[in-house]
Symmetry: C2
Subunit: 340 residues, 2 copies
């Protein structure tokens, strides 16, 4: 079958690879119907050392079940399904507590930019979708695999409630869906920090009430001006770079919460008295337990009440995945949908 492989920074190729097959009785085989390129794939696209051995990519997909292992119940060939970016058994203590990303039997998908893939822990992972495979809802449903659930995680862990004022840092797909999620949970005022007008315009559609294009200390001061000098009680950090973390600590109000959902591209950061401890600031977030959120988020997507799929502004075929990476990396595209 055909699959996208990354050979190093800026080097994604389409190649023939061997077809996936069932390996464990808890597996399923899924034919991919939609996939996409993630902002976190771009971290590798910018930094991966060149390598003679290509690595399959992709962790977001909607597909059709082709075959299931002997221990999989509740799924059958022909089912249209969405998967969270992390597979999990959905039965262990951590899964039941809502943290499938820490499931001891779990892991992250890494081969969804392909014609098909093997899904471990299929029963705990895959969620059947009550639409067919050419539904116009597919882009929005696909965001349940990662970016919508991730934006929701930022809003939930930050403690967004009706009436909350919040700052969202980053105008990528996750940042914009953090805006949508904060609005959906009742945030009254949402300050979006981003400098790409086409993206921040979509952010306004999703519920942003203020847009701050300035960055760094200038951006911090702008947010403080908008909030009586105090900053906001909650900050949703949807970038993952150290300067975004520093901005978050700069705009959070004393006693407030910074939730990070951008995968940190740094190991160390300032957590001492001045930026954090002295103000009683809480730092939370992490990889979103997307599976735990799908049941809650699905109805509003199916009803059309929210349209998170609007983050896709370009659609390519599977053979054009390398072009999709290039377009996203050069910020020509916000998020690229792959239609098979």
């Amino acid at each position: 079958m055909r699959a996208a492989l990354m050979y190093g920074a800026g080097d994604v190729r389409m190649e023939d690879v061997s077809d996936p097959k069932l390996e464990e009785p808890t597996d399923a085989l899924v034919r991919v119907v939609r996939s996409c390129v993630c902002g976190s794939d771009l971290h590798a696209y910018r930094a991966m050392p060149a390598c003679g051995q290509g690595q399959q990519m992709g962790h977001e997909f909607i597909g059709v079940v082709e075959e299931t292992g002997s221990e999989v119940t509740g799924l059958r060939a022909g089912d249209l399904v969405v998967a969270p970016f992390a597979f999990a058994d959905n039965t262990c203590d951590l899964c039941r507590e809502g943290l499938p990303t820490s499931c001891p039997r779990g892991g992250i998908f890494g081969a969804a930019q392909a014609e098909a893939l093997r899904v471990p822990q299929a029963q705990g992972t895959l969620v059947r979708l009550p639409v067919d495979e050419d539904s116009e809802l597919l882009p929005s449903l696909l965001t349940l695999a990662d970016v919508y659930g991730t934006g929701h995680h930022a809003a939930v862990t930050a403690g967004i409630r009706p009436g909350t004022t919040t700052t969202v840092i980053g105008d990528g797909a996750v940042g914009l869906l953090a805006v949508l999620s904060a609005r959906r949970l009742g945030a009254e005022r949402i300050i979006l920090m981003g400098r790409h007008t086409d993206r921040t315009d979509l952010g306004r559609d999703f519920g942003a009430t203020d847009v701050v294009p300035e960055r760094g200390q200038e951006g911090v001061e702008r947010v403080r001006e908008l909030t009586r000098g105090e900053g906001t009680r909650t900050v949703l950090e949807a970038v993952g770079h150290l300067d975004a973390y520093e901005t978050a600590m700069g705009v959070v109000r004393a006693g407030g919460v910074v939730s990070r959902v951008g995968v940190p591209q740094y190991e160390q950061g300032p957590i001492g008295f001045v930026p954090m401890f002295g103000k009683n600031v809480t730092l939370t977030g992490g990889p979103a337990p997307v599976r735990a959120y799908i049941d809650e988020l699905l109805p509003d997507v199916l009803s059309g009440r929210v349209q998170p799929g609007r983050v896709f502004d370009r659609t390519v075929g599977l053979e054009e995945v390398p072009e999709g990476y290039r377009a996203m990396n050069e910020r020509e595209a916000l998020k690229v949908l792959v239609r098979l």
Copy 2:
């Protein structure tokens, strides 16, 4: 009057200084009845550069009101009072939200190891005590100024509830009172990390169910052995050094909370994917808003249900304050009470 002044690391002297007097209409003058030496004073005692100009010390006291400014109501000369280590107006938004340590009119006391001191924002700061000045409850009441409220803050911000399992890092006064606080809030299992047997014995009296004397990676492994390899959902870090932070991240369970109340003696720390983000760990805590807790904590102290004053294991007179620093610094004493 007589007061303790620090001239540099290891150099505390008793000297005559000018008597404090009212400066603002919101001030009160308080004659000190009990003071003490704090673990955080020791940070200065170990690290302060030598200086020709001595600096008054001390932020914990019980005293008798001698005089009040014209805008102070509800207090009169002769009242026995306790003060939180940070003064605050107790009327602004942040105070009303329970964060007096971030009050714009607030600050930290710094001259309580003396015969008397000026108390800014007296009405918002001082709490009258319904006992007299030779009450046997004074040591326990004095812990409301800092160490008990600080231990309580760790337990509250970590989210200790009935049935919680927690790890407390540090067997100083704050760590031991974090144990007492966790127990008071219903924690079922409390693992105390500390290696001074006399202190951890008091920790057991306060509610610790397990004691781990090992430190560093060995200590982390020991806590994991005690918790099915998982670590604990909550960790109360009552030391303030980077290795204690690293231990906290090592023993916290996925999805758990680390609350710091030891004043961080570091600026940067590991907050990347492996120690923190990937496990969805929350980092919280800060300077305890002690004033906000006194009303809740006072009744159990007055009734004798809790005896946080047991952390004082040595009593000195004011002239012996330098000896008190030495004894605490050399770990001869856990916490030194100053009786005037």
